[in-house]
């Protein structure tokens, strides 16, 4: 059924607030299957619900809309900092034909990349790895899991981004418990532990970003020079009803460049990487724009964090054209101040806290932009290095 809520605040809300509300609605109510419309004073969602539950959905939408729009109060609908028009139009319909021929859906937000898709992914990552190494980065490999008891609580991540997090659990290592689960799996086709089984939290989450484990690895360090690290990571973000191949996957590939140092050095390195990333847009003839942006904070916690981020312009986002007015945030350039170095006690030789910055390239989103611009045929993807 379609559930509609009228809200006058939507008529005057700026574009970032409407886009943010659409994202926030994915975490409003488990009955919501998709967001149909946000704007013109109206919110419409498709939901699987009876009339009684529909009222609960409406109440949730009203509450989320109120908080979400309020969180954008101090986020201006500002002009892009950089724009580029491609030599030809992007066509979003190319994504569907590429998905049909080269991707296999394995579950919500989970896709196998076959043949040319896997090659394109490797080629794009190789390009950004080369970019980072040319800027002086040292290559790292990091785990795809992050302990829940270290950095996360100290920086408030689970409060501000808990909606995206996937936690790990495992069976308690007790023979009788394990034998009961084995028996249920064999005889009753149990596919996951239930209340009848003994489980415990694994003490980690599936990594939603690459950089956290870099700060954890550097905890307690005294760094004499700016440190620049690059790593490709498998990252995991639950997206509610908004999963989409290449654009919003539960598991996706992100290469990051992580910088730790004095504020001036950080800004210089971030700018160098930003300029080099814009050069990649030229190489691939991709259209897009660079904007001041904010993180996808959980809606009830978002007000202060979003205002502070927008106020300081600490997050810049490169949005690449997909055609038909659609775009995808394919790279972000972030300054964190002492947000991570304080809790992780990372200091310079004089004992003062250093600062951090990171750049993230969403590899599948770059794939989407290349395919939308060039089409699904691999022969058209010129400009990329071999993987």
């Amino acid at each position: 059924m379609i559930i509609e809520v009228m809200d006058d605040r939507l008529t005057s809300a700026p574009a970032p607030a409407l886009a943010g509300l659409e994202a926030d609605l994915a975490f409003c109510h488990p009955a919501i299957r998709s967001v149909v419309a946000v704007g013109g004073g109206r919110i419409a969602v498709r939901a699987e619900a009876d009339e009684a539950e529909a009222e609960s959905v409406r109440q949730g939408i009203r509450r989320v809309a109120e908080l979400s729009i309020a969180s954008y109060r101090f986020v201006p609908d500002s002009e892009p900092l950089w724009t580029r028009s491609a030599g030809g139009a992007s066509d979003i319909s190319h994504l569907a034909s590429f998905r049909d021929r080269a991707l296999v859906k394995l579950g919500p937000g989970q896709y196998a990349l076959t043949g040319a898709a896997a090659t394109l992914r490797s080629s794009i990552d190789a390009r950004f790895q080369r970019l980072a190494l040319a800027c002086g980065a040292e290559p790292w490999h990091l785990p795809s899991i992050e302990s829940t008891g270290h950095l996360l609580p100290r920086v408030g991540y689970l409060a501000s981004h808990g909606q995206h997090v996937t936690w790990g659990v495992h069976l308690t290592p007790r023979f009788e418990s394990l034998r009961r689960f084995a028996s249920d799996a064999r005889e009753r086709a149990a596919i996951e532990p239930t209340d009848d089984h003994e489980v415990q939290a694994a003490g980690f989450i599936l990594e939603p970003v690459v950089c956290h484990n870099v700060y954890r690895a550097l905890a307690g360090s005294r760094l004499a020079e700016t440190r620049l690290v690059t790593a490709l990571g498998n990252c995991y973000r639950f997206e509610g009803c908004r999963f989409a191949p290449l654009l919003r996957q539960w598991e996706f590939s992100m290469r990051e460049a992580v910088i730790v140092g004095e504020p001036e050095a950080l800004r210089e390195v971030r700018q160098r990487i930003l300029d080099a990333t814009l050069t990649v847009c030229e190489e691939l003839d991709l259209g897009g724009r660079l904007e001041i942006a904010t993180d996808p904070f959980f809606v009830s916690e978002a007000g202060s964090a979003r205002a502070f981020q927008a106020m300081q312009s600490t997050k810049l986002e490169l949005r690449l054209d997909l055609g038909d007015g659609a775009a995808t945030a394919a790279a972000s350039f972030n300054l964190h101040g002492t947000h991570f170095t304080g809790p992780m006690d990372i200091r310079g030789p004089d004992g003062r806290l250093l600062e951090t910055a990171c750049v993230g390239w969403g590899i599948e989103r770059w794939m989407a932009a290349v395919v939308a611009r060039r089409g699904p045929e691999p022969s058209a993807w010129r400009g990329l290095p071999p993987p």
């Binding site: 986020v75 007000g303 202060s304 205002a307 502070f308 106020m311």
Partner: protein, 77 residues
């Protein structure tokens, strides 16, 4: 209690630290307030002093210190 004292009291209530701070110090850089305190600070300033905080006040740093906030609410330096 004068307005400057009232501003200091609001900030002390919001702060997670008991460290002293000067009127000219940047409250966020100094760690007296965290980014998560920002909207609560805005709400309290708007309620208490009947002002409307705008985006330009953020960008111009008019919430960054006791002195800046005092100027925002109309106290002469």
């Amino acid at each position: 209690m004068n307005i400057r004292d009232e501003i200091r009291r609001l900030i002390t209530q919001l702060s997670a630290t008991s460290a002293p701070f000067d009127d000219g110090e940047d409250l966020f850089t100094r760690g007296v307030l965290r980014s998560m305190n920002l909207m609560e600070l805005v709400d309290q300033l708007e309620d208490r002093f009947h002002i409307q905080v705008g985006h330009r006040d953020f960008v111009a740093g008019r919430l960054s210190s006791v002195n800046a906030i005092a100027a925002l609410v109309g106290v002469s330096p």
